[in-house]
């Protein structure tokens, strides 16, 4: 999982809204949308940085070939149609006509090939893995892109949302140092909105891209993203209408209940299906006692995940049953259950010989608190209390992002909290945490806890290349059962972030990536 997911990882709540874009009558053009960006992103070029805020903003500026519905099925993006060869090796995309970059130059299949095969493979770790599977990419004509894969890769069609495969202008980046290209400040994409000004520490001002290829879109004239580092201030801003839209962790979860009651606000937890944030207590499997399966199972028993959800996440989450989120595909809830039971936990600990010492303590374990805000701090405090009930001392270690990254990346930790996005397909978002081929020292968000099981490796690999959905489901069910038995990490919750927006706004959440979407269709009634 990665930084953007992490900073994002906070709250949610659930309620199903009808999807699909309202072709509302009397649809009005124009208007300003005030919203929040938090924390302030380092850049707006989504190809270079994939933190949540970067994506929220960049999503308006950079588009990709496809979009994904709430059911995670592909929908037209800049590609109006696509087809896959029966052998699952050739993908052909047809682009819309008249797509232009913000600098007025036309966007062609050349730009797509350049972006995917040259830029992203260097700057975008996730895309890097995806396009590594591509044998060749061609642009036979300006409106056609053809990808040929080395071997079948089931979720390939799931790699073209604007966060995974943003398209950049070839004429700007070709032959330059992508990371240092001065044009990064200009952030030139093809999205419905373009950058007008960015006052660091204050706000980012986007205005409509008049040359946008879809008729009438975007409906809004401008979007203003305010930087408000202080949560209380953010809440205030939403309350008094200074902003009309908040997403991800903008609003602390304990405020959610309060805002649900606010009459002028619409509330939803949809629009996160693609990410399906999945959280767990990570245990370094290399070190005793965490190297003992029974200990890890005991951990599953001793954490009152329901209380965790209520106290720390104020009910804005769902209890996770295993590695795959119930909000995404191939989930199977029919796995071993670990209910909250201190006795069972103690029993397991005793059984493995981790008996209470003279002072009644069984062990002392260092817990690195992820430096991503108070919720992580409180969660840590919650875990510490939970462990203390069975005589295990959890010592919280505070650190900054750098420290955390290094400790976890280099396996130099005992326990920490971690959170992953599922990215619409286990092959993209789940397997990376468990397959032994992804145990890579110094690299975050890989199989850092060091779990290794050949059977699991095999099942994940087969499932990735298998084309038949039913076949994949079987394989994934199997994997889930094995993992839940082994407990490589102690899964805690599936977070459900809220989106609050003013009732006057329409079509805010229309796809599986919610507030990261282009907002071309968003309008005021």
């Amino acid at each position: 999982m990665n930084r953007r997911e992490f900073t994002a990882a906070i709250l949610a709540g659930s309620a199903a809204l009808p999807f699909g874009i309202t072709r509302a009558v009397g649809q009005t053009r124009g208007g300003t949308l005030n919203t929040i960006i938090q924390p302030e992103p380092p850049v707006l070029v989504t190809a270079l940085n994939q933190q949540q805020p970067t994506l929220t903003l960049g999503g308006k500026i950079y588009e990709s070939l496809l979009k994904y519905g709430p059911d995670l099925k592909p929908m037209p993006g800049m590609a109006k149609s696509w087809e896959i060869s029966p052998d699952g090796l050739t993908y052909t995309f047809k682009l819309f006509e008249g797509i232009t970059f913000h600098d007025g130059k036309p966007m062609t299949s050349e730009d797509v090939v350049f972006s995917c095969m040259q830029v992203l493979t260097q700057t975008h770790p996730r895309a890097r893995n995806n396009f590594a599977r591509v044998a060749s990419a061609e642009a036979p004509d300006p409106l056609t892109v053809v990808f040929k894969l080395k071997q079948p890769f089931a979720p390939f069609l799931g790699c073209f949302d604007c966060t995974s495969a943003p398209i950049l202008p070839k004429h700007v980046y070709e032959g330059t140092d992508f990371r240092k290209n001065p044009m990064n400040d200009k952030a030139i994409g093809t999205g419905p909105f373009k950058l007008k000004e960015w006052v660091r520490g204050s706000h980012v001002h986007l205005v409509r891209h008049d040359g946008y290829y879809l008729k009438d879109q975007p409906y809004l004239d401008e979007i203003i993203y305010r930087v408000i580092p202080d949560a209380a201030s953010r809440a205030l801003a939403l309350e008094n209408g200074t902003v009309q839209l908040v997403q991800w962790s903008d609003i602390e979860f304990f405020d959610v209940t309060r805002f649900k009651k606010q009459a002028n606000l619409e509330y939803t937890t949809n629009g996160y299906e693609y990410f399906a944030p999945h959280q767990w207590l990570e245990m370094n499997n290399r070190i005793a006692p965490m190297n003992d399966k029974r200990f890890r199972q005991a951990v599953m028993h001793l954490i009152d995940r329901d209380a965790l959800n209520k106290r720390v996440y104020f009910g804005n989450a769902k209890i996770a049953t295993g590695p795959i989120s119930s909000k995404t595909r191939f989930y199977d809830g029919n796995v071993k259950k670990y209910e909250y039971s201190l006795d069972k936990a103690k029993a397991l600990l005793d059984e493995m010989g981790l008996k209470p010492g003279a002072n009644g303590k069984r062990a002392e374990i260092k817990y690195v608190v992820p430096p991503y805000g108070e919720v992580y701090q409180r969660a840590g405090e919650f875990f510490r209390q939970s462990f203390s009930r069975v005589g295990i001392d959890l010592v919280l270690v505070g650190t900054d992002m750098a420290g955390w990254a290094e400790k976890v990346g280099n396996w130099d930790y005992e326990m920490t909290q971690n959170l992953l996005y599922q990215l619409g397909d286990p092959a993209l978002g789940v397997s990376r945490t468990y397959i032994s081929t992804n145990i890579k020292k110094g690299i975050l968000f890989s199989n850092t806890q060091g779990y290794s099981n050949p059977e699991v490796d095999r099942l994940f690999e087969e499932a990735a290349v298998a084309l038949d959905e039913k076949k994949r489901q079987e394989l994934y069910t199997k994997v889930q059962q094995i993992l839940v038995e082994d407990v490589p990490v102690a899964w805690t919750l599936e977070l459900e972030y809220p989106i609050f927006y003013d009732k006057s706004l329409k079509n805010v959440v229309t796809t599986a990536i919610g507030s990261h979407e282009t907002f071309g269709v968003v309008h005021k009634s």
Binding site: R3, N34, Q50, G201, V227, S233, A405, G409, R432, L444
Partner: protein
């Protein structure tokens, strides 16, 4: 002719300071560099972290790109060379030259700190003087208690309390930010708008220094009141007010000015907290983020700039000091 002499003296002092400045800059640059590099945490790691699951290739590229693979001495050398040419390096996290980053934040911080500084100095000394003159009176005790309280109040907490009262409860003042964004105001309106946003941050930042200066001025006034030349003035038949204005104030200000100069650094430090509380788009906030992000170039840059600001403020107070006290300019005493 004394005028000329003191002018020359001040000129010399200025040169002295210029030389100092450069020296200090170099030392501080080195000092900061060592300090920051002592930190655990590989910047490449973090950056990689930023851009999703890092892999060895990207890490390597980054290390090369930012010379992190060079030996420290080489890095230090390049750092110092850059500093002198006022190139503060390039922030890989923000992907922009550090100088730009700092410069766009600097005005906000300067506005905040300088306003707070002046406010504290003016109000502080005035209150202090009044209290000192009325030493022992009710007014005096009142001021003393007030300043004691302010002196003991955590800056950030004061800020929060102000927000609680004036934004949350009364809704009079904006709780955060620097100005109303995109409000399309006339220049004058804008000034007032910013002013409105400034009130709480400035007050909470100024409070503690106000207290310090008030207490200092008070004791200083009392001290001066006991000096012989005040007795002379009375023996001359001067009236009370004349004595205060003509003989006491200037003499009493000397120690206050000195301390004020020394406080400059602390003031800038306080800004970090305040800017966090009030989402003030200044250096303070940038500093904090930079520390959490281990954004070495930015950190080094900020430290340097802040130190320079402090030195300059010291210089300023030193000059003021010279203006107040002729003994300084002629190097006597």
């Amino acid at each position: 002719m004394r005028g000329a002499r003191s002018a020359a003296a001040i000129g010399l002092a200025a040169i002295t300071w210029a030389v100092r400045l450069v020296a200090v800059i170099l030392v501080i640059a080195t000092f900061n560099f060592i300090l920051v590099r002592a930190a655990p945490g590989d910047p490449a790691q973090v950056m990689a972290g930023q851009s999703g699951a890092a892999d060895p290739k990207i890490l390597e590229d980054l290390r090369k790109e930012y010379g992190l693979d060079q030996p420290y001495l080489v890095q230090l050398g390049t750092h110092l060379k850059r500093v002198l040419s006022f190139d503060l390096g390039y922030s890989y996290r923000q992907r922009r030259p550090v100088l730009d980053l700092i410069m766009e934040r600097l005005p906000a911080t300067l506005l905040l700190t300088l306003t707070a500084f002046c406010l504290a100095l003016l109000v502080g000394t005035t209150l202090g003087a009044l209290a000192g003159l009325a030493a022992g009176s009710v007014v005096d005790t009142l001021f003393t208690v007030l300043s004691l309280l302010l002196y003991a109040t955590p800056v950030f907490w004061l800020g929060l309390m102000l927000v609680l009262v004036f934004s949350v409860t009364l809704g009079w003042l904006p709780a955060f930010g620097y100005e109303t964004i995109n409000a399309k105001l006339t220049p004058i309106e804008r000034v007032f708008d910013i002013g409105k946003h400034m009130i709480m941050p400035v007050v909470s930042l100024a409070a503690i220094y106000l207290a310090i200066y008030a207490r200092l001025m008070r004791s200083s006034i009392i001290e001066v009141a006991h000096q012989d030349f005040i007795k002379t003035a009375r023996a001359k038949g001067l009236a009370g007010p004349r004595i205060v204005v003509g003989h006491m104030l200037r003499n009493a200000l000397v120690p206050v000015v000195t301390v004020a100069g020394m406080q400059a650094g602390a003031l800038v430090g306080g800004a970090v907290v305040i800017e966090t509380v009030f989402a003030w788009p200044g250096l303070g906030r940038l500093t904090f983020d930079a520390v959490l992000q281990r954004d070495y170039p930015v950190l080094l840059g900020i430290f340097l700039i802040l130190s320079i600001i402090v030195i300059v403020l010291n210089l300023a107070t030193d000059l003021v000091y010279r203006l107040i006290d002729p003994r300084m300019t002629t190097g006597a005493a």
